[in-house]
């Protein structure tokens, strides 16, 4: 499996969204190419980013 650079500092919605789009561009260039706001795929990326944002919030709350 490829060694992926994982950053533990991106913990908000926009950072997760940008990371997922970058990941899709890097690993699925022949499967998905539409990253416009209106596309259904971007909708799923944003939903995943939102969930990760909320999980990060609760993770930090628990740690503190």
């Amino acid at each position: 499996m490829a060694n992926k650079n994982i950053t533990y500092l991106n913990k908000d919605f926009s950072s997760f969204r940008a990371s997922l789009i970058e990941y899709a561009k890097a690993y699925y260039p022949t499967s998905y190419n539409d990253f416009s706001t209106s596309s259904p795929g971007t909708m799923f990326i944003e939903m995943a980013s939102y969930v990760r944002d909320v999980l990060s919030f609760y993770l930090e709350t628990q740690v503190q």
Binding site: S14, S38, G41
Partner: protein
């Protein structure tokens, strides 16, 4: 004789390259890949029309907000207002789309709105048509 050159998206020159996903998600594998930018634009517009305001995370203005109008008084003024807002939204989110024909018809008894419009994509000569029935 002079003639207008047509633009072709570079992704359309590679037929095996997937562009996005199709709507609705009803196939066996849930997601079905779309291979042309023309079809993907159509699904993106459908996605816009079927989205209400405040449904998209961190983008509350995205969406045509049609379903919110279903249980309001459907008269000509409402339809005109809705038509204007949909056209403005399409102009904002799909800047390469030119609407050539737009009709919105309401049936208050059946809580039904029908949106029917034709469009062309700028500089490509590609045209298409979308008909959507939205009922409550």
């Amino acid at each position: 004789m002079a003639y207008g050159l047509k633009n072709i998206n570079v992704l359309d020159l590679r037929p095996s390259t997937g562009i996005g996903v199709q709507l609705p998600f009803s196939t066996a594998g849930v997601f079905q890949t779309v291979y042309t930018t023309k079809d993907q634009l159509k699904y993106n517009i459908i996605n816009y029309l079927l989205t209400n305001n405040r449904e998209r995370i961190f983008n509350p203005n995205f969406g045509a907000n049609i379903r919110a109008q279903l249980f309001k008084q459907v008269d000509q003024d409402t339809l005109d207002t809705l038509s204007t807002s949909i056209k403005a939204g399409i102009h904002q989110y799909f800047s390469n789309v030119v609407i050539t024909k737009f009709d919105i018809v309401g049936d208050p008894q059946a809580h039904l709105l029908t949106v029917n419009f034709s469009y062309t994509i700028k500089n490509t000569g590609v045209s298409d048509n979308i008909i959507i029935n939205i009922n409550g």
